[in-house]
Amino acid sequence: MWSYFANPHKFLRLSDWLAPLFYALAAACILYGLWQGLWVVPKDEYQGGDIMRVMFVHVPAAWLAMASYSALAIASFVWFVWRHELADIAAKAIAPLGAVWTALCLATGSIWGKPTWGTWWQWDDARMMSVLFLFFLFLGYMALRAAMDTRQKAARAGAILAMVGAVNIPLIKFSVDLFTSLHQDASVITAEGPKMAAVYLTPLLVSALGHSLLFGGLVMTSMRTEIRERRIARLRAKELEAF
């Protein structure tokens, strides 16, 4: 199965139609989610009134922050074990996009926090801290890749760091959870099933799907660019050799 996906030509052919499809569906889902979130659903005074509508961006961003780091770690592992170049191209594409959504999650969380808790930043909130450290992991990953002088070294160094980060995340999460929190408990998915009112849940899930599709589409586009950049570099190198 891997070897099928590891083939850049097949990836280019697949993503040629898949990426635009992702964009179209993402636009539909995100617009629906925003329309529902901003105009249709009733506001919840307990969650700060109208400001709670930022949830329809904040929660999808939080989901993508975690999902994108998982994707980065998986791509790094696949590259480290099987050395498929496409896995490295994927990891390289995921990192900056993951960092953007993680930053979005932090920013929207902060904006939501000010009117609800009276502070932009809650130091003893476990989730804010976890996402912040996730953001640092992304930054470190990008800085390390950028500091390496060849793409092979960037791939190896990046993969090592992403995997070290991945094995540490449970520990970081656990340590951060030891802090008490003003933040509400996880409320979308709990052991007893979703307990949030369906009026919020449906637009929230559609929104999360939209963000995920947008993320996937952007990753594909970024990977296509990277594949072509590497091709150009190879052709240039060949041209130089011919001199």
Binding site: G140, A143, L144, A147, N168, I172
Partner: protein
């Protein structure tokens, strides 16, 4: 597997750490300097200092580990020693662990042993608990050195690697900093914290050498 290369790596790193005669004095000076800046920055109110003291010492320990580690693998990569260690017939992870341990013994442990004095400067009561805290600092700083070693090995071939090491190691320092501060807070959750601190240090000692080995092979490639 013969332990000879690992012992030799340990000895070489100890020699390196004490070269120039300064040894642990330099990191101690750094720790003292960093800690003394804090009261100048936040004022000399006794209660405040007492509250922030243990945390400041943790931060200073973390910074000291980063400053110490910045050059260890970079120097090996530059002078060709790394090539020799990679061919010495011992697992690279064991060599990396031995080097890290040697640097912890020359910088991390002395800092931890010095911590009761600093704690007194931060208005802590003189009590046996300061010695317990010194043990906790020693335990936690070992994790700092191992994770910092991963950052140092990854940036061994990078110019101005020091900034990169800090960025890489910071998230990895989090559990140690949290468990360490909790263990000294005396508040809720502080009873199990020393065990969590020990567990996270063990985890660092178990995982970091393999990451360092992979990174050192990369640095030599």
């Amino acid at each position: 597997m013969s332990p000879a290369p690992i012992l030799a790596a340990f000895r070489q790193s100890l020699g390196e750490a004490w070269a120039g005669g300064a040894g642990a004095l330099l990191p101690l000076g750094f720790l003292g300097g960093a800690a003394v800046l804090v009261p100048l920055g936040i004022g000399s109110d006794g209660e405040t200092l007492k509250a922030v003291g243990p945390g400041i010492i943790w931060v200073a320990l973390a910074l000291a580990s980063l400053v110490t580690l910045e050059r260890i693998f970079q120097a090996d990569a530059e002078d060709g020693t790394l090539d020799l260690w990679l061919q010495a017939g011992a697992p690279v992870s064991a060599v990396a662990a031995a080097k890290t341990l040697a640097h912890w013994l020359s910088a991390g442990l002395p800092l931890a042993l010095f911590s009761p004095l600093l704690a007194l400067m931060f208005q802590a009561e003189a009590s046996p608990s300061l010695l317990v805290n010194a043990g906790l600092y020693a335990l936690g700083s070992l994790a700092f050195f191992f994770w910092g070693g991963v950052g140092a090995a990854l940036s061994a071939t990078v110019r101005r690697g020091g900034l990169l090491i800090s960025l890489i190691a910071l998230p990895l320092f989090v559990p140690t900093a949290i468990f360490g501060a909790l263990a000294m807070s005396g508040g809720p959750g502080s009873t199990g914290a020393p065990l969590f601190l020990a567990a996270s240090t063990l985890f660092a000692c178990a995982v970091a050498p393999y990451a360092m080995a992979a990174a050192l092979r990369l640095a030599a490639d």
